[in-house]
């Protein structure tokens, strides 16, 4: 016989269920859950450099997942990190509006954003809103020279790039008995490209270094035709090309150098993406060989690198941890470390903890992450890498070298059987 549920019966059962669950302690588990800590990843996931943006977001997300898997922020009762995702579209105005959005959504700290121009906008906003901002990748010197109190940079700054480049070029010229190099510097016209190219040229002049810059050529970011620029390179007959590029134009440049038969002893980037991504090596094949790049590279013998890279490559087939995804991972580790020590999500506490950061790592070349008064990581460093038979090898500094560098290039681009 069916018993009809009336109002009194419903209230009685509800009260019983309520009392039972309260006694059993199930809601107590929920109450004991530590609050979630929101941090935000701002990367250029769409737009002209979306390939790098996606790679960096993956680095950020993987670090968050790893921290959560290891028990979250232990000093805050094992609070889990939640990554708010934001897309800057590689545009300054979007970077600002997205930063504004994630701050409103409660992000305790912002991480990102690869492009120096975007970083400048976000840093300015974070200063106004009093929110800590950790730049995983963004190199332009100026960002940390504005006197911002809330901004920290894990990545090397452009002057550091130029100094390392001079150091490595000194070694090459000494070992190969080269007294003078005639070079051409090229760069993209975005903030990073301009600053990186100009700082390299300025440092050469200041140090009176024996590299004569025959031409300094700048072209717009996202350019689709480099024939005129390469004609100019060919006309001045340099020994070495020093390009600051992005993934698209790096390929365009190499093909155009091939087609116009530009004779070079070497292609050595003072530090830029474009020359080490898996797609560059896959598409350029033998043309990619002997290209050198002065980049904040992974530490090939590091334990952390081996662990992270193995899982990253498994998760995203065909990809590997490189400069950008590596620093994206490290950026989140720095934030988590600061939260652990701050034991709070208050901006002042996090900023105070960030200032005292000393995070040992062997994911990237360089030593433990620690910031100076400007907020720059004083131990961030670069390595000289070279593509040899389709593999990226660290060739300098010698303590991390996997292979000996090859200079001058034994074969011109068009002699490689393509």
């Amino acid at each position: 016989m069916k018993k009809k549920m009336n109002r009194r019966a419903f209230l009685k059962y509800s009260a019983a269920v309520g009392a039972t669950t309260a006694i059993s302690g199930f809601p107590a588990v929920l109450r004991a859950q530590p609050p979630e800590i929101k941090i935000a990843s701002l990367q250029p996931v769409t737009g002209v450099i979306s390939d790098i943006g996606i790679s960096m977001r993956r680095g950020n997300q993987m670090a968050v997942d790893d921290i959560n898997a290891k028990g979250g922020i232990k000093s805050m009762g094992g609070a889990k990190l939640k990554l708010l995702l934001a897309d800057t579209e590689a545009k300054e105005e979007v970077a600002r509006s997205e930063a504004e959005r994630v701050i409103k959504e409660g992000a305790a700290c912002l991480v990102g954003p690869f492009l120096s121009g975007n970083a400048m906008t976000i840093a300015t906003l974070c200063e106004q809103r009093g929110v800590p901002f950790v730049m995983d990748v963004a190199a332009a010197d100026d960002i940390t020279r504005k006197g911002f109190k809330n901004t920290f940079r894990v990545f090397p700054f452009t002057t550091k790039f130029a100094e390392s480049m001079i150091f490595y070029m000194t070694q090459i010229m000494k070992e190969k008995n080269i007294s003078k190099i005639k070079g051409v510097v090229t760069n993209t016209g975005d903030l990073f490209g301009r600053v990186q190219g100009a700082t390299f040229v300025k440092t050469l002049k200041e140090k009176n270094f024996p590299i004569e810059v025959l031409a300094h050529i700048e072209y717009p970011l996202g350019i689709q035709d480099l024939s005129a620029e390469v004609s100019k390179i060919k006309a001045v007959k340099p020994d070495v090309l020093f390009p600051v590029a992005r993934p698209g134009d790096a390929k365009l440049m190499l093909r155009e150098l091939y087609k116009q038969r530009v004779e070079l002893q070497g292609i050595i980037s003072p530090g830029s993406p474009g020359w080490y991504e898996p797609e560059f090596i896959r598409d350029m094949k033998a043309l990619a060989d002997y290209v050198m790049d002065n980049v904040p590279w992974v530490n090939p013998i590091g334990k952390m690198y081996k662990d992270v890279n193995a899982r990253f490559s498994k998760l995203f087939p065909g990809k590997y941890i490189d400069t950008n995804s590596g620093y994206a991972y490290l950026g989140v580790l720095v934030v988590a470390d600061a939260l652990e020590r701050a034991k709070s999500t208050k901006a002042d506490d996090i900023i105070g903890a960030l200032k005292k950061t000393y995070l040992s790592q062997d994911l990237m070349v360089g030593l433990a992450v620690t910031f100076n008064e400007r907020g720059d990581n004083i131990n961030a460093d670069t390595a000289m890498i070279q593509i040899q038979e389709g593999q990226i090898k660290v060739v300098m500094p010698s303590k991390a070298a996997e292979a000996k560098y090859i200079h001058p290039m034994p074969k011109q681009l068009w002699d490689r059987g393509m």
Partner: protein, 282 residues
């Protein structure tokens, strides 16, 4: 070719296809996919790109563009900008965000004539573009469909009154316009790395070319394209040489080469607002 398609669509329907550059990227990806799957060079597979883009254009016209033809011009912009975003992001979902430079047979070939180096894929793309433009012109002049397109362009109501299926004619015309841009996409594969986000600048530059040549003029699109191409390539060097010639120690940066295009555009707009080949409209 890109400007030709844009000009054809505008000339007939008075609609500016703001998804033009993104559709060109689809043409590139079609040719790239054929190259990867079958090994057929983009200089042959551009025909498939053209056919697929024709179908896409035809469907886009019937489903979206045909409904906005009578809207004010400002309102016509939004649906097509929206379509551009759809094409861009669907390309990203299908083919991924990475820059791709497939190794095609002619991608690295060049000819040496004395001190000159001639880029073979560029030469082939240029020659094929000229041939295809002439074929499009012949199609418009000599075939029944071409005549219907011209009639509908000239007087929509008149064409309708004499029994022309204007909707179908418009859809075919839009399809031909997008087939032109699909062809251009295929021919560009050996010349530049492709990624889903390279389309927008092409829409802008072809828009400049179309205004320069004369809105709706196919010959104008060709000549305009030639002028802008040459101006952007040699303009910065030429201006730098002029600066040096008059004793100024200034270099005109290559980052500002689009300034040359816009300067030419402004001059043409001031001196000949209807464009180089545009007829005066009553």
């Amino acid at each position: 070719m890109i400007a030709l398609g844009l000009s054809l669509i505008f000339g007939v329907m008075k609609v500016i296809n703001f998804a033009h550059g993104e559709m060109m990227v689809w043409g590139m990806y079609v040719a790239y996919t054929i190259l990867v799957w079958t090994g057929i060079d983009p200089f042959f597979s551009f025909l498939v790109s053209a056919v697929i883009l024709f179908i896409l254009g035809y469907l886009l016209q019937r489903t979206v563009v045909n409904r906005i033809l009578d809207f004010p011009e400002a309102m016509q912009v939004l649906p097509l900008v929206g379509m551009a975003m759809v094409f861009e992001n669907s390309a990203r979902i299908i083919w991924g965000p990475d820059y791709i430079s497939p190794q095609s047979r002619f991608a690295l070939s060049s000819l040496s004539v004395g001190p000159l180096t001639i880029d073979t894929p560029r030469l082939m793309a240029f020659s094929l573009s000229v041939i295809i433009t002439i074929l499009v012109l012949i199609f418009l002049k000599k075939t029944d469909m071409g005549k219907s397109i011209r009639a509908a362009a000239d007087n929509r109501l008149g064409a309708f009154l004499v029994g022309t299926n204007v909707n179908r004619v418009y859809a075919v015309c839009f399809g031909i316009g997008t087939a032109c841009v699909g062809t251009a996409g295929g021919l560009l594969v050996p010349l530049m790395p492709l990624s889903p986000y390279i389309g927008a600048p092409f829409t802008l530059i072809s828009f400049i070319i179309v205004i320069l040549g004369g809105m709706g003029s196919l010959a104008g699109a060709m000549v305009g394209g030639f002028i802008i191409g040459v101006a952007e390539s040699i303009g910065p060097e030429l201006i730098t040489n002029i600066f040096h010639g008059v004793g100024l120690d200034l270099d005109f940066p290559h980052t500002m080469k689009q300034v040359v295009s816009f300067f030419i555009l402004i001059v043409i707009m001031l001196l000949r607002p209807q464009g180089l080949f545009g007829g005066k409209r009553g």
